[in-house]
Amino acid sequence: MLYTAILIFIIGIILLLIRIGLAPTPKAITLRVYPEKRYKLLAMLSDIFLLPGVTRKKYLSYWVFFGLFHIAIFFLFLGHIELIADIKVIQLVKHKIFLGKGLMGLLLIVSLFFFLFRRFRSPYRELSVPEDFILILGLLVTAFFGSHLNLATLYSSHGFDIPLEAYRTYLGSIIRFRPTIPDEISGSPHQVILVMHILLANIFFIYFPFSKVTHSILTFFSNAVKRR
């Protein structure tokens, strides 16, 4: 299933970009907003990563959780890369895998709860569609399982029974297209948690190209139009 999920993810994204790439270019010279910025790329990156329009007092909590959410996603991505192999650059700051000693998973969960509860309030509730809730809930459950695995490894008084080497063997075998599940995983009483984490991650990958999460890619294009 993992290969299918990754394949759908990649093909879906490529098809989306091809479809948009083949769409006509507007006749307009520019669709930007003014004043024209001297450093357009910097202005665009600032729009994307700092959300200058959101730093109003009223939305400060959103701005904080938006930041925490994306920082957590970034660090968790690095953590998953380190689960495959030792990456020296990431280990410049010596740490146990994952970076942040479990905090990033928790930050992700707290941010997701913020986004979820925010949608319970009017008018955000009326603006939302089922996809919005299901996506948050799906990510929450995935993060719960993942965080449990990480926290248990780091802080369980008896140690956690799936060692890092087992993850590396498993993920390495996937990359080599010879998937094997090490005994430490298949024999672990906690394997259900890992299976659920991977299953939900697969579903997320499959759904990604068809969902609003494509904003993580398209925001670079739409914000470029705003500044170009």
């Binding site: 507007p26 010279i29 907003v33 959103y62 939302s128 919005d132 068809f210 904003h215 705003k226």
Partner: protein, 417 residues
Amino acid sequence: MVDKEKKKKLLDLFRSKLDKPMQYYLETCSRCGLCKDACFAYASIPKLEYIPSWRAEVVRRIYKRYFKWSGKLFPYWGEATEIDDEVMKQLYEAAYTCTGCRRCMMYCPFGIDTQAIQSIAKLLLIGNQSEPEVLSMLADASVEKGKSLDLFKESFIQGIRNLEKDVIAKWKGESNQIIPLDVEGANIIYVALAGAHSIVPTASIFNVAKENWTLSFFEAVNFGAFVGDPTKTQLIAKRIIDEAIRLKVKEVVICECGTAFRVMKNLVGKQPFKVSHIAEVVARYLREGRIRVEKDRIKGLITYHDPCQSARNGGVIEEPRYVISQLTSHFVEMTPNREYNWCCGGGAGLVALENEDFREKTGKIKVEQIKTTGASIVSTGCENCHTQLGFLSERYHSGVKVEFLTNMVANSLILGS
């Protein structure tokens, strides 16, 4: 009634709007709602229908239903909707309560252009023949004038000659041509609105500046853009483009009409001439010393309303301020201002529709903004804004006088060398 055949036609129209930026906008929204407080209408009347992302969502739900696999297979997932009469009503509500000011774009994390999305709604309404008839009629009249100028030419020239005595009264100059027409090789072709207020002050300024200019036979306002018809928008702009090319002018100067300026400057492609807003030209004359004005001839505290289309969407932001700085020592900024200024609520042809109650109520935020400045004069550089601000001043009994920038300059001109 939206039958099968009409639905197909509407979907073809929808498809015709799916260029690259539009697809970014339709695919990207996460419905975070951060745009809600950016809209003047929602800020004045907190109604779901006035939230920019809701306006966009009405269009996006159709997009999902007909152009996305997820919407075709699982319509309930994203509340994808079929095109029907109810949806057409929603589209009307969304499109004709939006001035296309693009203030929400400043606050949207993805820079989604609600005005662009509303252009789909407007085109679908045209396809369904449920757009505001008055806007379509005005657009048709403009297109027709472009086709048969000879029919209008004589009466237009007569009307212009009648205005010349007003120009002389302001300018006190003498020339063979007070308001020149059809001047080949002129530096500037000035595109005005149909009305003395748009021609007389500017003609005085051009003449004092000893500009080699000519007046366009066509009015600047683009009702095609207001009604959201891309073909008519092009045709209306093309009349002016053709005239400018025929006369071999160097610069097309658009009067105080924000939409006309943005359409000509940014939306109809690259032209073989420079496009300027009249405020830019006046600022240039003042900087070059080609005109001089008497400071503080106009009494009272003055504030400036940035028209959305010429400022945030057209880049004319500092020039009007420079002009005002030459006119008065008593200037106060609105808060917020420049690209963050509140829309007055009159744009996109809304002032031409029968919606006075809506315009009055949604203008509340603008009225409060002006009141806070303590100014007795609001200057602006857009016809729609001028009309709406005047309307708000009257309805809210605020006693604020609304002035065109060019009129203030013309009234302050120092004549003679």
